[in-house]
């Protein structure tokens, strides 16, 4: 078995750093509990932000 050559691949690898995005990543999942929580938090924050950005519903005529 030879020493590994410089890796050429698209998958993240052990030792990489990962950014928690709403989409998540395999790297975060591989970190286990801490990565999973970070991903879910990023996802929840993105969902909350999307809710806030939504335009308010048009006023209901019956309440006017």
């Amino acid at each position: 078995m030879t020493k590994p050559a410089t890796p050429k691949h698209e998958l993240p690898k052990a030792g990489d750093t990962y950014q928690a995005t709403p989409q998540g990543s395999l790297g975060l999942l591989a970190l286990g509990a801490v990565g999973l929580r970070l991903w879910r938090q990023a996802r929840a924050e993105a969902e909350a932000a999307a809710q806030e950005d939504k335009p308010s519903p048009a006023p209901d005529a019956s309440t006017e």
Partner: protein, 673 residues
């Protein structure tokens, strides 16, 4: 008082990768695709790990955890009868009859965290944490409630935290899936279930990883064992799409799924990196698989249509890596078997090995010589709380159904359907058949016959029962009964084929093998070569032909046959053994020793190969090393008279140890018939 040896490890982390195989891993290491594993290997030892027969995972992982054979530990199958006789259920931890290492540790107040072990449901009340093998299996759609089945987690205080760490397959995004299947967007998931299985497996592995890392960070532990089944499941689902492309695999499916196996290993490497970081360098780490998985030209083209048929894809050698304080660095070890894991783990903690365990501690992995302690049996040690279930514990039929569904999806069991009685009968028969195979593979053919004879009589359509019965008769020299059984097999097969003359290579193989035992070498060769014409890619057949030529003194033809077997499977221990014997007979002792060392390096438990190695070394004048080889032979086969006699001669005439010589002479004369 429990005898102790020197404690070698502060903590032990045991990671199981079901079906991991060096044949896939080695080129990935060379390409730098598994850096975490590479680092572990560089600071430790690596080697093959011989599996057991039958190579069925619940049975194997229980032998790993207990150090015992399946007839001792009681886990014989993927399924077991429901206690009320209503049908079958997935095999449960309540069927295990003996202690696993974590039960022994519990008795001594040591903390163990066990995650996902197969089987480990319902979780045992050990000193530590157990997360059962039902934990990761989602039971409904993502918007439905995913209840945690009772018995999934012990202690209950951790249920809520661990339930939150489960990942539903529906939660995953393209960021998780595309590294495995880059063109996933092209798959119509209503027609092609494969992508759904990939997603499910990523979720399962990630859930186990989340639970394991959480426990490593938050709970105390001396021993941690974590089991991942995803590499095995990717193998069964996607190894046929792994490069090089197999004949008959459609181009479009190959293009979609050829990356799944490699991506699976890479993902496991990433998870390994995290666990190694959490464990720290002062923890002794063992990474292992229960068997390998054919990934090359030995991939079977067809899966037998029988329960556990997919096990035909399993290879007989798994992986073993160990690193930690006191462990040699960047070295290979040879001859490890699944039975050796429990004795090695016990020795790491300075605890005694049960004499009723079948394995031995892997002494060659350590920098210092080992002096393990022994007790007769851990089953007799009653101090403390072992944390085993005292009686049948009811588990949740709903969660059991999810586990059953997965076994059906993998092809390990047939769908139980409406006919629970039939499913129960099939499960019971299979368990008996597997038990008979355990007896056969551990040198107890008489006990195998006791099971197989009635089993084949009651199930005359099951050729495999008859084949093993004939083999068992042959092993105990009941050749007339072996012949009768083979004749029954031929008759029944012909009746099923309605008189059509179809080649029956396994019948010719068996007849040839039997004639060889009877000394009818020429007739044996006729049958064996007929079988070879019908089935030219079976290494064991070429080995048998080699044996026949060896018997008849046709050494060049014997060598040619063994070399054919090696061409098909370069890691076939029997073929290297055969080559060694050919060289021995030709007086080429250096070449003989080289081939025989290779044979025992691949599979250590071969007393005859150790004997022949001893013979070659003695001829070369290496008397002390020859004596070592003969000693191994008699340790594996105490009744091998010729090895005792050779040892007596070496000790008397060459090594100046008359007492040892006398002991072997006496043993051979008085104890061996």
């Amino acid at each position: 008082m429990l005898p102790r040896s020197k404690r070698l490890a502060k903590k032990v982390l045991l990671i199981g990768w079901d079906a991991a195989d060096w044949k896939v891993i080695s080129p990935m290491l060379d390409a730098g695709l598994m850096p975490a594993l590479n680092g572990l290997i560089e600071r430790g030892v690596m080697g093959n790990l011989a599996t057991l027969d039958p190579p069925l995972s619940p049975m194997l992982w229980t032998s790993i955890a207990t150090g015992k054979t399946a007839d001792q530990h009681g886990i014989l199958n993927f399924t077991q009868p429901a206690p009320d006789g209503s049908g079958i259920k997935p095999v449960l931890t309540t069927s295990r009859k003996v202690k696993a290492v974590w039960n022994m540790f519990s008795q001594l107040g040591m903390h163990s965290n066990i995650v996902g072990w197969w089987p480990s449901h319902p979780a045992e009340p050990i000193n530590g944490v157990m997360v059962s093998n039902f934990y990761q299996k989602a039971t409904g759609k993502i918007d439905e409630e995913w209840k945690m089945a009772p018995g999934t987690v012990y202690p209950e205080r951790l249920e809520e935290d661990l339930a939150e760490l489960r990942i539903h397959p529906g939660e995953l995004t393209g960021a998780h899936i595309l590294p495995f299947v880059p063109r996933a967007g092209e798959v119509d998931m209503s027609k092609d279930k494969r992508l759904g299985n990939v997603i499910k497996e990523i979720a399962h592995a990630s859930t186990i990883q989340a639970a394991a890392t959480h426990l490593m960070e938050t709970e105390p532990w001396d021993f941690m064992a974590v089991y991942f089944d995803t590499i095995d499941h990717f193998g069964h689902g996607f190894m046929r799409f792994h490069p090089p492309k197999m004949d008959g695999v459609p181009d479009d499916l190959y293009e979609l799924y050829h990356n799944v196996v490699v991506a699976g290993y890479r993902y496991h490497d990433m998870m390994l990196d995290r666990m190694l970081t959490l464990a720290g360098e002062d923890t002794t780490v063992i990474l292992m698989s229960d068997h390998g998985f054919h990934s090359d030209h030995l991939r079977p083209k067809n899966i037998p249509k029988e329960p556990a048929g997919p096990a035909v894809e399993h290879r007989n050698l798994g992986i073993f890596v160990m690193a930690g304080p006191g462990v040699q660095q960047d070295e290979r070890i040879y001859g490890a078997s699944l039975f050796d894991i429990a004795p090695t783990v016990l020795t790491l903690f300075g605890l005694p090995i049960g004499r009723d365990m079948r394995g031995r501690p892997l002494a060659s992995a350590f920098e210092e010589p080992l002096e393990p302690a022994y007790i007769d049996s851990w089953e007799d040690f009653t101090d403390g709380q072992a944390g085993m279930h005292a009686e049948e514990v009811r588990s949740d039929p709903w969660a059991e159904q999810a586990a059953m569904d997965q076994l059906v999806a993998l092809g390990y069991v047939d769908p139980p359907g409406e006919n629970a009685e039939k499913a129960l009968k099939v499960s019971t028969n299979e368990s008996q058949y597997y038990l008979a195979r355990v007896y056969l593979s551990t040198g107890r053919p008489e006990q195998a016959i006791e099971i197989l004879a009635p089993l084949y009589e009651q199930n005359p359509d099951q050729d495999r029962f008859g084949q093993r019965l004939a083999l068992a008769y042959q092993k105990v020299d009941r050749l007339a009964e072996a012949r009768t059984t083979i004749e029954q097999l031929i008759e029944r097969k012909s009746a099923r084929d309605k008189g059509k003359k179809r080649p029956m290579p396994w019948i010719d193989y068996m007849l040839g093998s039997m004639l060889l035992v009877e000394g009818e070498t020429e007739q044996a060769l006729e049958h064996l070569e007929k079988a070879e014409r019908a089935e030219p890619r079976m290494p064991s057949l070429h080995n048998q032909i080699g044996q026949a030529y060896l018997k008849s003194g046709k050494l060049d033809l014997a060598e040619r046959a063994f070399r054919k077997a090696i061409t098909i499977d370069p890691e076939g221990a029997a073929a290297h053994h055969g080559i060694g014997r050919v060289h021995l007979r030709k007086g080429e002792h250096i070449e003989a020793a080289e081939a025989l060392l290779r044979a025992v390096g691949i599979a250590y438990r071969q007393p005859a190969a150790h004997y022949h190695l001893g013979e070659a070394l003695a001829k070369l004048g290496y008397y002390d090393r020859a004596a070592e080889a003969f000693q191994v032979a008699v340790s594996q086969a105490p009744g091998m008279k010729r090895a005792h006699l050779y040892l007596a001669e070496l000790y008397r005439n060459y090594l100046d140890e008359p007492k040892k010589a006398a002991a072997h002479t006496t043993f051979a004369a008085e104890r061996i018939v």
